[in-house]
């Protein structure tokens, strides 16, 4: 079959090597001699980077666990007014990148913002008369990241709760446990692998975040890498710093893999269809609805309203041809990257299906590691070899033909598209895998036995079945690229701006209101995959196995924080 489709193992291996290139480059720099900048880092800053990054991770863990588990349990196991709509509204904060929510709350809660202004007006306070929590702080960053990252824990945990056999919980009751006790002794331990997976995904995004911590002035690895790259113009130190960050990421990857493997042993398949929910009434129902509404209100509606307000307030200046130029740039980049990523994912997906060898599956695994790697690291890992290649080529052309090739690779869209593909290939791979798993190998055989040629099988069976999958995969990559900030900042060609970059620049210039329009645009487009996702969640406990795969797509799909 493989030979008929024309897929060769070496294609897959080549893709894997190319996709792993940025990481290999970064790791290679560990072997480079450490220079005086590194010594300076080590003496003064590295400890701060590490402690800030760890504090962020601990804080975000607490935040996403509390919001995610409570909302997951309430919507999965209890019945209260508004449960159905809340169970998908709870996903909405995923559509807001962390740096954008950070801008909105800074605008709202700053000294000059409406909240403090109103308080001063009410109580007739002046500057320094009162204490107000500082948004632009480590605590503030933890809150911002938690508000947009808790849906990872929510989705995974909710799916786990819904998958739990009703009879397991009933068994704990016949053995003398009250519902609440059963929750802690059975439901939570059974969902633990899912919870850990959700937290590790949220922490990967936390480590990858650049926009929020940069805006709040917190020194972490990503801001440190930027400082070394731009401030010190020291690519070696930047790469070495990136490799330290990489070790944190590797720990998270291992944690995630481990918990996913463990989840297989913890799975209980329910024979009884349907979920029996505890009927909540009175004040219990009120508090359940409130607990599920607060994350949505603070994680989506307030920031979205703020963005809308800014957009309307600045509409005459911001919605001009310049803005549409930005939108066109973003559209171009996101479309190109989506097509490349989905095309590669189709090759990898079919290779895995048709050539089931350990080599091929290892290559596919390597190709899909990018979801865990911060955009900053990938960007540097792409920039360094490309710049080196450009220099070498330029020198050779000059000396041989007296020609200059300039920045052929490193200064072009090619570098950006490549970085996006590395980062988001896993998103499309998972979507394609999920789609292919619906086409059983016996269907290929059935097609052949009914007189179809291999091409006919592809055209008449695979294409109609895969069409929706391919569209989904394109959309998911598209949205992720749109939101991506740090890689775009590093790799964009000179004077090439996107929506995300514009929002970042405006915010950095303290022109928050002008950041509104591009940010709102990103959020609006980001809602589309959430709606797709919520549709699959709606059916999730009916055919939970298939949907679990589809959860996976969206879970890893997001470069939220930039």
């Amino acid at each position: 079959m493989a030979s008929i489709f024309g897929i060769r193992a070496w294609w897959v291996v080549t893709i894997a090597i190319v996709m792993a290139l940025p990481i290999i480059v970064i790791l290679g720099f560990v072997l480079q001699p450490f220079n005086e900048n590194w010594q300076h880092l080590l003496d003064n800053l590295l400890l701060e980077y590490i402690s800030n990054s760890l504090l962020l991770m601990v804080g975000v863990s607490v935040g996403v666990l509390s919001m995610g588990i409570v909302s997951a349990w309430l919507t999965a196991s209890c019945e209260f007014p508004g449960r159905v709509i809340l169970s998908w509204l709870l996903l909405l904060p995923l559509s807001i990148p962390a740096y954008i929510i950070a801008y909105t709350y800074t605008g709202l809660l700053d000294f000059s913002g409406p909240v403090q202004g109103q308080l001063r007006a009410w109580f007739d306070w002046g500057y320094g008369d009162y204490w107000f929590p500082e948004v632009r702080s480590l605590t503030g960053a933890i809150c911002m990241l938690s508000l947009v990252l808790y849906p990872y824990v929510y989705m995974m945990t909710r799916a786990a709760f819904l998958e739990q056999s009703v009879s397991v919980l009933e068994a704990s009751r016949t053995l003398g446990h009250s519902p609440l006790k059963g929750f802690f002794s059975v439901a939570i331990p059974l969902a633990r692998p899912a919870i850990i997976t959700g937290v590790s995904l949220a922490l990967m995004e936390t480590l990858a975040d650049y926009g929020t911590v940069q805006y709040f002035g917190i020194s972490t690895f990503t801001t440190g890498i930027f400082r070394a790259w731009y401030g010190l113009d020291d690519s070696v130190t930047a790469a070495q710093l990136a490799s330290v960050l990489l070790t944190f990421v590797v720990v998270l990857i291992l944690l995630e893999r481990y918990s996913r493997r463990e989840a297989k042993f913890h799975s209980v398949t329910s024979k009884q269809a349907g979920v029996l929910r505890f009927q909540l009434t009175g004040w219990k129902a009120f508090f359940a609805a409130l607990a599920c509404s607060l994350p949505v209100i603070f994680g989506f509606f307030i920031p979205a309203a703020q963005l809308l307000y800014w957009t309307i307030a600045t509409a005459d200046q911001s919605l001009n041809s310049d803005f549409f130029g930005l939108a066109a740039n973003s559209l171009l980049l996101a479309t190109l990257a989506a097509f490349v990523a989905v095309f590669l994912a189709l090759i990898l997906g079919y290779a895995k299906r048709l050539l089931a060898t350990p080599l091929v599956s290892a290559a596919v695994t390597i190709s899909s590691m990018g979801y865990a790697i911060p955009g900053t690291i990938i960007a540097i890992g792409v920039m360094l070899p490309f710049a080196w290649f450009d220099t070498v080529l330029d020198q050779w052309l000059r000396s041989t033909f007296n020609l200059s090739s300039g920045l052929l690779l490193s200064g072009s869209l090619f570098a950006l598209i490549f970085a996006y593909t590395v980062r988001f290939l896993s998103v499309s791979i998972q979507a394609v895998d999920a789609g292919l798993s619906k086409i059983k190998p016996s269907m290929d055989d059935a097609g052949r036995s009914l007189g179809l040629s291999p091409f006919g099988v592809l055209k008449q069976i695979h294409f109609p079945l895969m069409r929706g999958t391919i569209l989904t995969a394109l959309l998911l990559v598209f949205v992720d690229v749109l939101k991506e900030l740090p890689a775009t900042l590093i790799l964009r060609p000179f004077n090439f701006n996107t929506l995300a970059v514009r929002a970042y620049e405006m915010a950095s210039d303290e022109r928050l209101a002008d950041a509104g329009a591009p940010a709102l645009m990103i959020v609006l487009v980001g809602i589309i995959p959430i709606i797709l996702l919520s549709r699959s969640i709606a059916h999730s406990h009916i055919k939970s196995n298939n949907n679990h795969k589809r959860f996976g797509i969206s879970l890893r799909k997001r470069e939220a924080t930039g």
């Binding site: 009933e170 053995l175 009250s178 002794s185 042993f265 209980v268 009884q272 029996l276």
Partner: protein, 363 residues
């Protein structure tokens, strides 16, 4: 024994239980009681309400009306439902519902966590011995075979010494052979521990090998609550006769103390579906003839033609066409390989037959 003592002896007493599901009646006016140490079985086709009834006994479902009591304690009524965890009623689930994050030993001890460490350890060892899996104490559920999981689920349910044990289709996921051995094994364990139990099944053979008494249910109603022998030989109505075992129904006319069929004159037993005071004289009734009641008797004047044969090993099930043009099935030893198409003389091995007056529409 006083009335009160008698009531305390009743491990389960259902009084006119009515259950509804989405406003439709699924169990109707069902009453039965179970004595200490008895193993009962709710038997019936799927959708007859037996599982719903079991869940009501466990406390997962509230009653529409009626009551459920155990040892004179009210567990459920239309206004009051004791929570499942407060009932001391154990349950073995259809999918076993073992806790996958706990070892076999910890699964078994889940319900006795409040007891002293010493007691727990002793009970754990005792139960592992009882279910013959002492080497599996530290294994996890996914490492066990289906039959082993089943036995662990049983041990877990009986560890707290429940007043009553419920088993929901406990053998449904097993192959026939395993079913038989496990049913015997579980009956041995229950009897050893003197546990009162209610099992739900749709398989009469499971019911026969497990239960002391069987409640045959159909369409939410209890049709007969009896021993397996009586269900088979003296079914109280035509549904039970039809549902349990193979059955032939012949037309018969009641004449005096006898009923006349194409096979001759027989004594008959009065059945529950007959009003006691009505005279049956001259009435046309249905007469139950089990296939093994029919014998080959060369001297008999009653003859029948052999129409077809279904080889079953030691016995063959023959279809016989009677002179009355009625067809009956007969279970005959398979060594005597009768030629199809021949006529043979037949007789009945029993003098007394069951007759039914009411036509059960659901047949």
């Amino acid at each position: 024994m006083s009335a009160q003592e008698l009531k305390l002896e009743l491990k389960l007493e259902l009084k006119e239980v009515n259950l509804t599901y989405h406003k439709q009646a699924v169990v109707k006016d069902l009453s039965l009681s179970l004595e200490d140490g008895e193993i009962a079985c709710l038997l019936g086709p799927s959708g007859c309400g037996k599982t719903t009834l079991l869940r009501a006994i466990a406390g997962f479902k509230s009653l529409h009306s009626g009551s459920i009591e155990s040892s004179a304690q009210l567990l459920s009524s239309s206004t009051h439902t004791v929570a499942p965890e407060k009932r001391r009623i154990g349950m073995v689930f259809q999918d076993f519902a073992l806790f996958p994050h706990l070892s076999v030993g910890d699964n078994i001890c889940f319900g006795i966590r409040d007891q002293s460490a010493q007691t727990r350890k002793q009970r754990r060892r005792e139960l592992l011995e009882l279910i013959a899996l002492p080497e599996c104490e530290n294994k996890y559920p996914h490492e066990l075979s289906g039959g082993q999981q089943q036995r662990v689920a049983l041990a877990r349910a009986i560890a707290p010494r429940p007043r009553l044990l419920l088993l929901d289709e406990p053998f449904s996921s097993m192959d026939v052979e395993l079913r038989n051995t496990l049913a015997k094994e579980i009956r041995r364990i229950l009897k050893h521990e003197n546990i009162t139990a209610v099992m739900v099944t749709h398989d009469q053979h499971e019911a026969f090998s497990m239960a002391d008494r069987i409640a045959v249910m159909n369409d939410g109603q209890l049709l007969q609550w009896d021993t397996a022998e009586n269900l088979y030989h003296s079914p109280s109505n035509a549904f039970v006769a039809h549902f349990i075992g193979h059955s032939n129904f012949l037309k018969g006319i009641v004449r005096g103390d006898n009923v006349e069929t194409a096979l001759g004159k027989h004594n008959y037993k009065k059945q529950l579906d007959q009003a006691p005071d009505t005279s049956l004289e001259g009435r046309q009734v249905k007469v139950l003839i089990r296939p093994e009641y029919i014998l080959i008797d060369k001297d008999s004047k009653q003859t029948a033609e052999l129409v077809s044969r279904d080889f079953r090993g030691g016995f063959s099930l023959y279809s016989l066409s009677l002179q009355s043009a009625e067809e009956v099935q007969a279970l005959l030893p398979s060594q005597a390989n009768y030629r199809l198409g021949n006529s043979v003389g037949i007789a009945l091995s029993t003098d007394t037959v069951s007759i039914f007056v009411n036509d059960q529409k659901r047949l």
